[in-house]
Symmetry: D2
Subunit: 482 residues, 4 copies
């Protein structure tokens, strides 16, 4: 647990970091690049570092990608230059440093079979071995990304068509991959056999289909008949019907990421057939059952904890209200308060509505504690506003293990619940009480007993993971190829 | 009421547009420019077009201003270059067109008495006459802004010190002005005798004082002992105490802007001594009393209507929930959907959480209807999501008159409630029922019977307004001086 | 004389700095903004800091200006937005610091008589007194520029039309001013009675007229029938004919700037009725007569000394050749060599063609020595290339006095020939011999015996100059109004 | 020959386009990135589209590259971030379109042997076959560049060290390649056995060595003991001595590019042991012997033809003078004159010094005619200025064949002298006479009878070239990989 005055905690995001969002559109009678733009817009929460769109018109693929938000990367002129019938898109999560452009996706390469462009959400745990083997065969890599490994493997695949080449290559991949793959005249959606990251497909109102990491983005595009791409499936998007194949059998036990429910997905998306907003509301209700406390008001840490706070309030009968105001204009400011200002209490990300807190016993609902850096400042804001008691309630169990399937939770050393007991975390946070939702309670709220990956809570990964190797996806050396 | 498919309605903001936010800091032992940066940050909701900070060090004034958000205008290097003990700052609201830089504030000029910098929130209704008179005296103006008129008048004022010069000039100003005025070694806060726009002052924890449009910004800076600058007051900020003078008598009847409660101010600010969040909650409660309807869920139009929706839900006993997801990354995109995409339902600003709406009787709380362009699309989003009934509830009376005191409500011709009956508006909106809060109910919720300007509802302006003249503040000719 | 290893000398421009170039076009059937763009392009050598164009269409004036080169400031979209029949333009010279935008011209203001835009080349020596007087009358200034003073005075002028107002205001101005003044439907060219800075006017091929600082820019626009605006004249540009008035009598002795011949003007321009290229060639010929020396080759310091070197070579019979290569891509680099690199001889601006220098007795022609910083490095480059002898020949007399009429020659303290004897300068330069052209020889080459300002050589200014006051044009305080 | 009013001709560069310049530095006690910056600066004329520097510190390689001029691509902060002992750099020529960043060099990849970075000047004529073969082996390419092929081949090479790997790979390359290759702790310079493109190496004053496309860049860095990298050599740069190996035997007949003498190289560079300036001067002298004409003045088309014009004047006894003024501030403007302005004679790139032309018989020296687009406008400028006669003299023979070794001369269809007789070209140009230098005369002036590639004049390529295949280096499809 970090000293609350720690500089690094100031703007730090306490949440796990999603790797990406992907999108694919086949819409022969529409402006597919513009549709892709709006679709990526709706996936922006999954990655703010870089964005890209590749478009195919039957003869060739054109692409534009850059670092920045979707609305910064694409001007009207850029969109207009991308004409075609097929589009794929990608948004990438925010990391520190200057490596943003190098890692932007889609990847577009020439292969013996023509051009392909690939956009990837997930992480291959055996990328390092696959990459070493290709290096030994004389292939050069321009990044350390597992997504480039995956793309290069497609270039070297054998098989009479792309369906077959993708299918054969999938045999070698272990880990999380929700992919969209574009050729000059075909578009495929691919999901790993464990179903780790989401991928959904739907029918566009004017013909054609779209695929996206989240159903919320498909709805933004007006899609109907939305369904998930199933674990192990390859789906080829066409004008009239989807061509669906179970390319490799689904894992005996699927490993859907629980955190899509907890935090990642938009509340208007579905995950595993359920409304994310409603699951979160039930998480709050369950938390109220498990960790009741007499109090005067229930407040969320906005925005992701709002549905759970509503649920907690409903179940407990304690009134729901706003307590924090989240500054909407933060953007990428690099100006930080001096120590003197910080001691004066200058706050940037959240302000408190004092009148709703003064003299109250407050239940604060947050979705997770990862590194623990921001918990103490939040609690202190409430105490400074005159809260009589502060009761912290977390809508998932303690996170004690890193994720190797595409989410940056940090290392073992960084995880608060790996290094500290719950009582220590409570004490550091300054809260009067702290409770996490139980694993059983969480799964109850989700309404499932298995089929999910809860490795970050339990350490039970869906397949053997060599931690040293698996981490390379997040530990990129400074001087890597550009 | 505009056709919902109207292009102009797509990204239009249905809310009235605030003119500005102002800020002043005297903190001799702190980094005042950095403090001003954080203070403006907390006022960003009052204006996103341009931002500026001027700093004085006892010998001279340095300034930086530009178009853009506060975080875009100021880099660490820019902030570091602004050294001194005094700072004033300004944020400006968003207008179309390219005039942003020209109208950025503060205004900084050389006068016979040395440099002054001025930041203004409000609108002088007699600016046009004052400007004409100065033009006839041979003064040239580089903008059509009333704020430049006001600044130039200070340059020409007589009096032995700035206190006296400001006092004398105030005699000539009619309208709304909350001002901060900086010289090379003094800083003044000034508010018009009607008290139209807010202005508050507080004590900084380490000595010195700060003044800001809203108490929420002062709290961000750690201020204590916050009070309003009273109508007609000039306050000089000093290290140890405020030097306060009742420069001109307050108006017999003050005219505080009701819309600060309804929409403009941060919910964590005070206005007229009351918590804005709590006033909004009471507006919702009152609305539930006046316009009850059997329903299954109460949802807000985020973000400004959330407190009122919580209040409506509490009073009515109907459960509160989220219905709309507001896209947080809109930014200044210039890419719009094609007509075909729009017909497909491609949405940008709001998405619906269908599961919370399907088959429900929904009460939607919105804070106001100005031009009426966005009401129909919002109702339709709910109906498309399967709402059984949609009941629109507005937390203020119908807006039938323009504002000439610093808020861009549009012209008579543009105001939906000026041109149409409420039944027409309801029919155009597609809602099953529509109700506005009554004037009396609104004032009850605010807890006052007078002292407020309700001209936009009633047409009773606090002083005679020549509509043609007063409008110049909003009708700037294309080719005006830059 | 500065230490040749002095950092400040590295990229320093040894030449005097011109203040500006101005341009005006009335072309009712053409794209005047585009014409103004090309005209400013041809004046870019007179100022690289900022550029601006204002256009009038009979009803109003639109403007765009910014810091940067003409090609950077104006995009096709910017040009297209400036529609009208009249245009004026301005380029500004390069200074250090960040004040560029604030001082960009034209100035555009509203006056009691409507909008005016003004672009100015020159410097008023009584600007400080005029400004103080206006300040006392209550006028505020947003810069310390004499051009703003001049513009504000026009706003306060009396008279029935602009012709009369300009005429009356000219009575008060002392110093150098070549002006273009734009109203919503008129365009005037004005030149001071001493004729200090150039201003020429010509007829456009398709009707209309253009005015510019140099005839070279008018030729770029296809102008014919080019003549100078005479000292004391106001010329109104019209479609068919020029309306010319001798607004105030020319000075009994005109004071044309000799340095336009020596250095400022394009070689394809005329100044005082003579080809600048040919005058420079004759300066070289005269220098060969006055300061002959046995040598093997004559080389210019490119680009401005090329014509004089050709002349010197012709007269002396010594072969002309290139000796220096000037790097064309310098731009605004801010990366400087380390001391270690500098000692290694890393050179940025000039390289030597060693084969043309090795073992040769070299005559180097340069147009002037101002601060003397770059003379030593140039001589050393030649010596390092194996020159047997280096003979420095300067095409004007020693510069011993500052200019107060719009050229930044530096202060007395900075002028090499003010502080040092010629022998000292030679010794510091390392040259084997150094000779300046005599005043008489220079005037012979120009072909005039009087009518020129040679104050920088002689100290005899065309009117009394209070050095302290006159300098304000170049000594702008850091914190001046923005 | 293109219509002189053709829009595309307006800003077109009549000269052949060089592919690139390369640079390598090993300087263990200096700021190598800063040195590389200044070295690239001196090579900027070889490519203005993009620039890049890669630096190795013994452990890893860091790189920065972007589109733009060297001074635009590198800020002081960028340079400071590139710390190490070894640097390579690259500048790329200007092409239309948006593909600049994708093709920027160096290429940096991870291989089985660690990182390598490669910068290439030249063109492999068998790149297409090599690429196809690698594609069939499953390699994917992210560009269509032959330089990427070459880099990928190094990744797949076998051999115990890089010296051996480079040597083996060179066996497979046919065409022009002057390469610098950087590993984490070694730096190699490599030149093809035909010696087509230049590459020189020298000793740095403070220890270490540098290699560059031109000796002029090495001189800028203070190098001494400069020699060429010989055809077929690999040179490893070390601190104290060069490690030189004749990796493959030089071609029986070398094929040095004649156009380095004619146009590409800086005049202060050496090519084939001779001063480029002096060769050009002799080309002019020879032209005067071959194509004498009675005339009054000899003028160059600046800047590349200046030495030849000086030579022509000396040999013919006709006086040398300037006739054209070249605008130094062109930059990348995208604003073009309207047809109406063009007809008025609005000129952008060149102006004429009328006084030097009026009533004169003018000999104009130009270095080459490629597409012929700009010849007519230049002649017309002189005729409009009153030239009595215009005699065009070209310092090389007619260009009738494309180049496949790294120079963009255009296709057969585009070459004026391929499609037209010399009399046709003269007639289209409007000149009174036109003469090209003979092949023999050119080689006489160069002082060599063989060892040069004159394929663009004769069609005799140094090795068999399949025109269709070889052209791919210049005919990049729109939608190529990014």
């Amino acid at each position: 647990m970090v000293n609350p005055a720690d500089r690094s905690g100031w703007l730090a995001n306490e949440h796990p970091q999603e790797e990406c969002g992907v999108l694919g559109i086949y819409a022969p009678r529409e402006d597919v690049a513009r549709m892709a733009f709006f679709g990526l817009y709706a996936l922006q929460h999954r990655g703010q570092e870089a964005a890209g769109i590749a478009v195919a018109d039957g003869r060739e693929i054109r692409m534009h990608k850059d670092s920045g938000l979707v609305s910064q990367v694409f001007s009207p002129a850029r969109i207009s230059a991308l004409t075609g019938d097929f589009a794929i898109g990608h948004v990438r999560y925010s990391t520190a440093g200057s490596s943003s452009l190098r890692n932007a996706q889609p990847y577009l390469i020439d292969t013996q079979y023509g051009q392909i462009a690939v956009a990837h959400n997930g992480n291959l745990v055996n990328a390092s071995q696959l990459r070493s083997s290709m290096l030994r065969n004389g292939v050069g890599f321009s990044s350390s990304s597992d997504s480039e490994v995956l793309t290069m493997m497609l270039a070297g695949a054998s098989g009479g068509d792309w369906f077959e080449r993708i299918r054969q290559t999938m045999q070698h991949w272990q880990g999380a991959y929700s992919l969209v793959i574009l050729t000059r005249d075909q578009l495929f959606a691919v999901r790993d056999p464990w179903g780790i990251r989401p991928l959904t497909v739907g029918m566009l109102p004017n013909g054609g289909h779209a695929v996206a990491s989240e159903s919320g983005a498909l709805r933004t595009l007006g899609c109907q008949a939305i369904r998930e791409v199933k674990p192990g499936e390859i789906i080829m998007l066409t004008d009239t019907a989807l061509r669906v194949a179970q390319a490799i059998p689904p894992a005996s036990e699927t490993a859907l990421c629980t955190f899509e429910h907890i935090y990642f997905s938009r509340p208007d998306s579905f995950w595993d057939g359920q409304s994310v907003h409603q699951v979160r509301q039930r998480l709050g209700e369950q938390l109220a059952r498990e960790a009741a406390v007499p109090a005067d008001v229930v407040i969320p840490v906005p925005d992701s904890s709002i549905p759970a706070a509503i649920g907690y309030a409903r179940q407990s009968g304690i009134p729901y209200n706003d307590g924090f105001i989240k500054n909407r204009y933060i953007g990428r400011t690099f100006i930080e308060p001096t120590d003197s200002l910080r001691k004066m209490g200058v706050t940037l990300k959240y302000n408190v509505i004092n009148e709703n807190i003064l003299n109250q016993r407050v239940v604060v609902i947050d979705d997770s504690i990862v590194r623990g850096n921001t918990t103490r400042p939040l609690v202190k804001l409430l105490q400074d506003a005159g809260a009589r008691e502060v009761h912290l309630r977390i809508t998932c169990p303690p996170i004690r293990h890193p994720c190797f399937m595409g989410v940056d939770m940090g290392t073992y050393e960084e995880l608060a619940a790996h290094r500290h007991s719950l009582e220590e975390i409570r004490r550091f946070s300054g809260a009067d009480s702290l409770a996490y939702l139980s694993l059983e309670g969480m799964m109850n709220a989700i309404g499932r007993s298995n089929g999910y990956c809860n490795a970050c809570f339990t350490g039970q990964y869906p397949f053997p993971v060599d931690a040293h190797v698996a981490k390379t996806g997040f530990e990129k050396p400074e001087g890597e190829p550009a």
